[in-house]
Symmetry: C2
Subunit: 491 residues, 2 copies
Amino acid sequence: MFASAEQTHKVDKTTFKTEEAKLREALLDVQFDLVGKKPFAVLILLAGIDGAGKSEVLARLNEWLDPRHLHTMAFDARDEAERERPPLWRYWINLPPKGTIGIFLGSWYRDALEEHLFGDSSSDRLERDLAAMTRLETMLADEGVLLIKLWLHLSRAEQEKRLADIKKLPGGGRHIIEYRRIGKHYQQAMAAIENAVRLTSTGEAPWVVVPSADPAYRDLMVGQTILAAMQKRLASDRPAPTVPAAPVVGAKPDRKTALDAVDLTLSLGGADYKEKLASHQRRLAGLTDSKRFRDIALVVTFEGHDAAGKGGSIRRVTRALDPRRFKVHSIAAPSHEERAHPYLWRFWRHIPRKGNVAIFDRTWYGRVLVERVEGFCSEAEWLRAYSEINDFEQQLTDSGVIVVKFWLAISKDEQLRRFQERENTPYKRHKITDEDWRNREKWDDYASAVGDMIDRTGTDYAPWTLVASEDKRHARVMIVKTLCERLEAAL
Amino acid sequence: MFASAEQTHKVDKTTFKTEEAKLREALLDVQFDLVGKKPFAVLILLAGIDGAGKSEVLARLNEWLDPRHLHTMAFDARDEAERERPPLWRYWINLPPKGTIGIFLGSWYRDALEEHLFGDSSSDRLERDLAAMTRLETMLADEGVLLIKLWLHLSRAEQEKRLADIKKLPGGGRHIIEYRRIGKHYQQAMAAIENAVRLTSTGEAPWVVVPSADPAYRDLMVGQTILAAMQKRLASDRPAPTVPAAPVVGAKPDRKTALDAVDLTLSLGGADYKEKLASHQRRLAGLTDSKRFRDIALVVTFEGHDAAGKGGSIRRVTRALDPRRFKVHSIAAPSHEERAHPYLWRFWRHIPRKGNVAIFDRTWYGRVLVERVEGFCSEAEWLRAYSEINDFEQQLTDSGVIVVKFWLAISKDEQLRRFQERENTPYKRHKITDEDWRNREKWDDYASAVGDMIDRTGTDYAPWTLVASEDKRHARVMIVKTLCERLEAAL
């Protein structure tokens, strides 16, 4: 969920000044439109880890918006009057009325996560609580409330630096309770938090993760997210999911995602390649032939830029497998029969039995990639697909299927080189079509979609492996090796 | 959930013949419309307890509909191929394509309930599983599948009779596994089942409970429910919740609900009344003044026909309470401020602190009563309100609030008598308005709405108490007594 936010996102001082001026004006415009017409209420949940700057953002919003129509509520540990009522009571009675914007600092999520991390709520209990919250938010959305859920994120290193700075201030350490309590269990705690954020990212009210290392970037992104959501909702005649998944920040859009962290210079020499590939293939053959493999199954999915080398990589994998026990499924545009069913149906049909391997050359992620970018499905459809896919993969994992997901990354230049090579090589010419060239023109849109996909579907049970594929040999070895490692961990 | 279904519902032979002929023709009409246009798929979940006649209904539907476009699947214990895949796999691969009707005998609910009743799945785990099912069904609905969920119900006595009959048939006992296993834990098991059915009755796909003691009534109701849902969906241009909450059966509508079981002849003599009332009031005073009451709170809700005696009853209750620690909230049409918030907001504001009592003269149930009947909210809105209200009351209960809900029932004749009396008594004249007379004209619509309300919001944690109020004295004593009993059970 947080992979893209951990990339470096920065806005320089001059850009900030220019953008801030434009943003303030636009924000006041939509706010007065809201106040005048009172068509709905806006509820902003401002959440995130200690030190990410929740209070700073709050101060900024109070500066940018007209505070007369802005209701800010900070929820800390429950006071006596609150403890004597149901946990949600304090949020309910403070809901903003139509025509106003309410900002909740701390929310029902904080309560549930605290209970889980520091209290005695089990994972099942936490999931039950999160389901209740999803129902609450669905109700609020149905009742016309525009929910904007902002999660302010810092990497661990950034957080430590920030907290050290805060401690130096007079009285600074006061609020840093959460962090001290999480302490050395940081890794586990963050996994639980990430899971909760992912589970509650619904189509009606998805979380927007705000990279918060650079305060200027953070504040602009918060402001622009609120602006975009309100503009969109004011323009539509009926309530619909309205929070953009990836707002644009600054004069030039910063579309940095987890994909930008892939080191495309990685490569492997010829002799080294042959030896390593053969050794990992032997390892993979041994693992999938083992008796213990009969109790599990393996699903391998390949996605990547056009010409990134999916086909060649799949052949290197299947060479190591027993031909009676694997199947490669090439996913093209859906058939007539497939279109007559919910979109996940065609994939459910190919779930392998125990002891078997299913390899998908393109996958269910088409919904949030090509279908999103090309407009083959509505925004509501691809927004809800993230959690539908997470549910799907959770079910596979729960029943003993190992799900390994590869994204094969190449640069735009390398793609051009390969396209041209295909056109100039007679036996490769069938591999390149006009559609490939058209897709290439939408490179940036695809990159945004891939970033969102990795953030919203990279789970602990089915993580993404991003494969630097500029050098095919490096990619192939990495893929076979990753499969071995995942199987070894599972067996 | 099953209270109304346990009333006697019957259709005589002649009516059945006439209705069946009409129904068959209409069903074939909508089916061919569906087959021709293929706008969506229909999925019917046929569920219910052993002996209720699931197989008989299936046979009937195969007779009434064109079996070429009907896919029937019976799901029993999982076979080997199914055990080697995720639990939902077998349902997914058997989803009906657009233009067809699929009937599932046994479904994901059966799996989850079996695991809970006979396996080792905890209540938290069951609720988590049910939440996953709700997500699955929401997805299917979003993908355009028309879901019709039918629960065939028998009372315990009816079930025992039916099973005894079946056992007499050659090979009859074969399928009666579920019942034998539930055995003496029937009561607990039914509570879990009822809870599951209630929790998964969402706005998109509510359960329809089918009284199954009379096969003719049962089959007509099933057929008419399917017919109504398909007609409605074929007529609308976009997917919307489509299952009617209370289908009409037979030439004359049978609107029998739990309300019809209230014995309105109950009454209490004058001397007896005074003594009993005083004694229960003393008991209630003692309970609410006790130290242990400081750890809980009490919410009492009054709903009922106009002139059923809510005000008088409330005064008999408050007389027993410490005036510093109770409050009566009279709920009229929502104010401007209240309309600017989600409808439950105005009630959340009045949740009492520990040691206090809140009495509501009319309540949040207005949403599924007056707002439904008068069309002040949409069908989608009141359909989803049942589970929203259940969630709300669950939150109250979980935090130690005792929720006692009264429905004050009188006959239509008695209401007329009281209306006339009010008009003829000068100091009572303000109590009767034109609106009361208008509401009276919709008596039957209100009765249906009340029946649905009792079925769908009568929970184990916040049950309805139906109070025979034809005789005011009987009603008042029963109310104060019920409060004492609920408090004694809690303290």
